[in-house]
């Protein structure tokens, strides 16, 4: 948990010192224009994780509210 918090703080802390980047002739940021497929794959796998977390949270809600105990 501490490591996660430290990582988040470093991420947002970096916003304070972010250097200006040179843009492409059409105003696009070259660092983002370069396709990062690793990030794309990570983003895709957030989808099943979201569905699993959502279902678990539904079960938790039903139990906690007393609407369905037999889960």
């Amino acid at each position: 948990m501490r490591k996660l918090l430290a990582l988040i703080m470093v991420f947002f802390g970096s916003f304070l010192f972010a250097a200006d980047t040179q843009l492409m002739p059409n105003g696009i940021n070259p660092a983002v224009h370069k396709i990062d497929t690793t990030w794309g794959v990570i983003v895709f796998f957030m989808w099943p994780v979201l569905i699993i977390i959502a279902y678990k949270f539904i079960e938790f809600t039903l139990k906690k509210s007393g609407l369905e105990k037999d889960l």
Partner: protein
């Protein structure tokens, strides 16, 4: 003028079809999983009441599913009838994900929809449950492939495409880069989580409606609990991934975000306008950003923070994208248009030389066409003349044509964001009420839930408008202008089909609503 009018009618027709189609799509994306959740609870508990709940929401899902599918097919035809230049030029790239969608996701959906809708008494509980889940996964995978295709339109890159000088078409060079590009994947998650939020609000609202009327109380309490939990997770995730989406847009479509924020003069530490009314002026008439607003309330630095991940990061404005900004390496539009025009001239010269059998002239024209005009050796990026060919169409034209209109993009973007925050608040309130057992007694919350039912449809439509109007004047950003994408057909043809589709959509829309209201009025079978 006639040509432009035809394009405007073709755009109106596509927008009408897309908006009508998009009434059903997000609902299908969300309801398919909600039904799977209900059925999983039924299978785990073995209780008949959960089966009744599942079957009721499945019926509503099925009504929308049919219309969603049929309206989607109309799009495919419109690509051919009204947008044949677009289809011909980028069909290799755009068509591939659509074909995968058709072959895998569409058939997957159709197969498991049949088992899930009609197989309750024909297959085992386990097979039926698996079918419901696979239907949800298939529906969402459909969206994935469509959004990969749309991701290419929003952010084309020579990392996965190449302009073939021989046939003047964009051809795919790397399928993996096309499908795994973050712009497409972030867009996919943003759209599906919007669909989950929309479906959750619908279920919550209808459940609240029953509670207000004192009907089907146990059914409504349980449905609302599932909707509140799914909606809470989805709406929070929607905001988080929406932030990432805004980051991608800011960095890959600078004209879109500048229009969405009414930012004419680029600046470091750019603000976000929380509330305001832009005047939609010509860039040349604006010297300071304040001139461009009737009124505005800003949140300082927020656009730089969200869009560039830097408190004082520079965000280019519309004027910078027209006049250029030497400090940040942005070329004036006139220079981009000049290079684009040169690419068109090289292309023409190549084909003339080819027809004349002049190999030396062909090679020279080809070398010029593919010559590098900008590079970033550190990132391994380069722009060739051919990559800027689309800008050639804007040579000598009104420079304000290079960006989308400010007012509609600003309104649609900001309304979508505001509604997104309302949904989070509504779900937090509803979830707390569900857990405390007070949802069934909270009349105010129930009324707000009912009144909120149409809002996510407005939100998702505005989101789509932000994406598509914001991309203008391009069909493929920076590559193919909308004005050059249409089929050169007579205006009357497009007008005739426009009104034909409008009539069909009105009839289908009325029929859909009538069936929906009848089902909701009748309520679930066997409910308390």
């Amino acid at each position: 003028m006639d040509h432009m009018s035809m394009i405007e009618w073709a755009r109106a027709q596509f927008a009408m079809t897309a908006l009508f189609h998009f009434f059903f799509v997000p609902f299908t994306l969300g309801m398919s999983f909600i039904v799977a959740f209900f059925e999983t609870i039924y299978v785990k508990t073995g209780k008949q009441e959960w089966k009744n709940i599942t079957q009721f929401w499945q019926l509503i899902f099925a009504i929308n599913f049919a219309l969603g599918l049929s309206t989607g097919i109309i799009h495919e035809f419109e690509f051919g009838t009204n947008w044949s230049t677009y289809s011909w030029m980028v069909g290799d790239l755009f068509g591939a994900p659509l074909a995968v969608e058709g072959i895998i996701a569409f058939f997957m959906e159709a197969t498991f929809a049949a088992i899930s809708f009609f197989g309750w008494k024909r297959v085992s509980k386990g097979v039926h449950l698996a079918s419901s889940w696979l239907l949800g996964i298939g529906s969402n995978l459909s969206a994935l492939w469509i959004l990969i295709a749309n991701g290419f339109m929003q952010h084309p890159s020579n990392a996965f495409e190449n302009f073939n000088i021989d046939n003047s078409r964009l051809e795919m060079t790397n399928f993996w880069q096309l499908i795994a590009q973050p712009v497409a994947q972030v867009k996919f998650l943003h759209v599906v989580s919007a669909g989950y939020t929309l479906a959750s609000i619908f279920v919550l609202g209808i459940s609240a409606f029953y509670l207000l009327r004192g009907k089907h109380v146990e059914f409504a309490k349980k449905s609302a609990a599932v909707a509140a939990a799914f909606g809470l997770i989805s709406s929070i995730f929607l905001a988080v991934i929406g932030d990432d989406h805004a980051y991608e847009v800011t960095n890959t479509q600078p004209t879109k975000i500048a229009a969405a924020e009414g930012l004419y003069v680029g600046k470091k530490g750019a603000p976000i306008v929380a509330v305001g009314w832009p005047k939609d002026l010509k860039a040349a008439d604006v010297q300071t950003n304040d001139q461009a607003w009737a009124f505005k309330i800003e949140i300082p630095h927020l656009l730089s923070i969200l869009g560039k991940h830097g408190v004082n990061a520079y965000v280019p404005g519309l004027k910078d994208l027209i006049d250029g900004n030497k400090k940040y390496g942005i070329w004036p539009l006139s220079k981009l248009a000049e290079v684009g025009q040169e690419a068109r001239t090289d292309l023409k010269a190549y084909h003339e030389a080819k027809a004349a059998g002049d190999t030396a002239a062909m090679q020279k024209a080809k070398a010029d066409f593919y010559s590098v005009v900008w590079s970033d050796p550190k990132l391994g990026l380069k722009l060739r003349k051919c990559d800027l060919i689309g800008y050639g169409f804007f040579k000598g034209k009104n420079p304000d044509l290079i960006h989308p209109p400010v007012l509609p993009v600003f309104i649609s973007f900001h309304t979508m964001v505001a509604l997104g925050f309302w949904f989070i608040l509504l779900f937090i309130w509803a979830w707390i009420a569900v857990v405390k057992g007070s949802f069934a007694n909270s009349t105010l919350l129930q009324k707000l839930a009912v009144l909120s039912v149409p809002l996510p449809w407005i939100g998702t439509s505005f989101g789509w408008m932000t994406a598509e109007i914001g991309r203008q004047p391009w069909t493929v950003f920076g590559v193919l202008p909308t004005a050059e994408s249409a089929t050169p057909i007579a205006l009357a043809n497009v007008q005739a089909t426009f009104f034909m589709f409008l009539t069909a959509f009105v009839i289908l829309g009325i029929a859909e609503l009538k069936i929906l209201f009848t089902v909701v009025k009748h309520g679930p079978k066997g409910a308390h």
